[in-house]
């Protein structure tokens, strides 16, 4: 990596941190702006103003907003994300197992979907307007357009209920072997992967087709370069910016945007925790979840940006 690129990357990462701060502040005040607070939510239908007020006091929710925010920030700077307002347990303790689960699911999905999507996306672009491409196009569009909950539900109903091949719920505790791991993760991962893949395939295909019209691709054909090499060696480097970006965008939702999948497979992950916490206005947890989502998101997009930057600086590619 040249010094110039290193500088650019450093600057990119620096500005990514700005986004992080922006998000944290925004989330805090957005949550604060939501009607009701944890006291109301905790008491639910049984809330009376007096009871809620008392609870608020005991949770220090009657402190001014900015003070609470400063407290949280101060804690965060010392690596302490605070304690859950609702359960009183340390946020880190509540988050850790969920994060592990989520990363497991997201990781497995990424491992399955990215190579496959690249393969299929490139294949579609290569064999553009063939039967293969048409079938894939309709298939990918079909997969994206069917709501995720329906795909997951149908999958469970068919494979878990009718054929009884896999469990209906993904219970990590039951995993003691690779076989069990595959069985347990088969459904959620394949559902998630098919959706992410479909998105990626669409974008990869489009970006590649765009590059395929360039004269240097024609030249490569005239050199007798095999299609695979044309795709990987000639076209991909020129489309790497948009392609990396498409992949990053698709993957970025794997941590926070999978509530449906987590709900349907009863998989205790971060997304569900975030939704719960929003509903319960458990601000420290919301904050920490948002921070994690934002971090993964920024990690992915920054990576994509750096890939694009590097390719731009190397040649005049993507």
């Amino acid at each position: 990596m040249s010094a110039g690129l290193a500088r650019l990357v450093a600057r990119r990462i620096g500005t990514a941190l700005c986004s992080l701060v922006f998000v944290v502040v925004a989330i805090f005040f957005m949550t604060a702006a939501l009607p009701g607070d944890v006291a109301d939510m905790l008491l639910g239908q049984n809330a009376t103003p007096a009871a809620a007020q008392a609870l608020r006091h005991s949770l220090h929710l009657d402190q001014p907003l900015w003070l609470r925010f400063m407290h949280w920030c101060a804690g965060m700077l010392h690596g302490d994300p605070g304690t859950s307002l609702l359960t009183g347990r340390p946020v880190s303790e509540m988050l850790a197992p969920r994060l592990y689960n989520s990363l497991l699911l997201a990781g497995a999905t990424t491992v399955v979907s990215v190579p496959l999507a690249l393969l299929l996306g490139l294949a579609c672009a290569t064999w553009r307007d063939t039967h293969f491409d048409r079938v894939m196009t309709v298939l990918t569009l079909g997969v994206v357009s069917v709501p995720a909950f329906l795909i997951a539900t149908v999958a469970v109903f068919v494979f878990a209920v009718q054929f009884r091949i896999v469990p209906a719920l993904s219970d990590i505790r039951s995993i003691h072997s690779v076989g069990q791991f595959i069985l347990t993760f088969a459904m959620p991962v394949s559902t998630l992967a098919s959706i992410t893949m479909a998105q990626m395939i669409r974008m990869i295909r489009a970006c590649m087709i765009d590059v395929f019209s360039a004269p240097y691709i024609e030249m490569a054909v005239l050199k007798g370069v095999p299609p695979i090499r044309i795709v990987l060696h000639h076209a991909l480097p020129n489309a790497i910016g948009p392609v990396a970006n498409a992949i990053a965008l698709s993957l970025s939702s794997l941590l926070g945007g999978v509530v449906v999948i987590e709900t349907i497979f009863n998989y205790p992950g971060l997304a569900q925790l975030m939704v719960d916490s929003v509903m319960l206005r458990d601000v420290p947890i919301i904050q920490s979840c948002a921070l994690l989502f934002c971090l993964t998101y920024l990690f992915l997009t920054t990576l994509a940006d750096i890939v694009a930057l590097a390719s731009v600086r190397k040649g005049r590619g993507a």
């Binding site: 905790l42 009871a51 005991s58 347990r89 539900t153 469970v156 209906a168 009863n266 916490s277």
Partner: protein, 491 residues
Amino acid sequence: ARAQAVSGEPPRRGGHLNFAGLAASTADTLDPARFALATDYIRGHMFYDGLVTLDADMTPRPALAERIESDDLRTWHITLRRGVAFHDGAALGAADVVYSLARHKDPATASQQRAVAQEMAEIKATGPLEVQVTLNGPNVDFPSMLGLVGFCIVREGTTDFSRENGTGPFICTEFSPGVRTSGRRNPDYWGGPAPWLDSVDMTGISDDMSRHNALLAGDVDIIASVNPRLVRMLRGRGFGLLESPVGTYTDLAIRLDQGPGRMQDFVTGMKYLFNREQVRDSVFLGFARLGNDQPIAPENRYFAADLPQRPFDPDRARFHLRKSGVMDSGVPVLCSPAALASVDIAVVLQYAAQQIGMDLPIRRMPADGYWTEYWMKTPMGFGNTNPRPSLDMTFALNFASSAPWNESRWHDPRFDQLLLDARSQRNETVRRQIYHDMQVMIHEGAGICLPAFTTSLDAFSPRVRGLRPSQAGQLMGYDFLSHVWLADGAA
């Protein structure tokens, strides 16, 4: 139905049972004061015991309390069962009871039962196993009140509820909020021979279809809250169905102190506008009983059966609504997924309104914050109420002038007086009459349109035995775990 058919068999001990409730979230708790949802109640019954339990027809039966007596219905003497031990081995004593009851009054506890607990003016131990509770006024239904699962007994001085220490039939082996609760049988359970199960896993699956799929796939053995629409399929596949005639209802509350509800005719008109049969048959697919704009379900022994059923009568509705002059007030009806089936009921109502030329906008609000932000705060909105252990509590908490959840802001001094009268009335016949009159008053006067009482539906796999319907709540008043046994459990 299956369970009934083979109920002759003697229960077997052993086995592991997986149960999926309706919801799990980080709000799951082991703190009785914070129990709010059905899954909490089930968890409560799993690890804790109350002083009394409510049986299938809501009659209080002694549990940790051997006797509860009072001369003046105001000062109550509770004698505790001897030889009961907490899971940590400590013996149950009066101090534990005093602590467990008194903590609900402390605002910092944030107890769900605080409004009820305020009734108890003084709680004190009068002996190692004797507790004396003095109420604000006489209340013959005090024992029923103690049947609230929130009033179950914890060890004195417990403040950390990340672990349980109850006297209940199961001992907690794992508790992760929003994920799972697991328990193993308490071998020293005072209430033996129950429980029959060796161990239990409990989780919450909020998605209807997934919950049913989990049952169908055999991942769980019992699920709570079956959707009526899936009953046909479950039955077809040989799964058992537990229909509990609980008094849960979803009602439209029209505030009488603001908006169109200030017109008595408007309220009456709206009541006639409810197509109750359609709500029962289409919304609940028949798994409901008709409501009559008063909160007491037909199964209840105090139910005012002779009160004529209010019919669906568009003409009368139109007459009254026209008369009220606010046919098209533009005031929306608030509904929410938070209030069971309220959106569908609202749609039924809206169509009926449309038929008489009235434009009734519906606003579906998010479940998030519905109870605190919208419920009871707008002129017209749906609410959802779970059955209370006694009529007295129902009336006191939801209809008395000072009731905290008086949804329609209905004030009737006579009603308040009757409530007090009933409390101090030991005579069953007189009380029945009073309760009858109170039901009539609500039916006539309150701004409550109550189309139906829902039947709680739970499903279980054929290996599960011992489930019986109860008025006290779903799954045998949330206490099924100490009753069920498995056909394939060890003998």
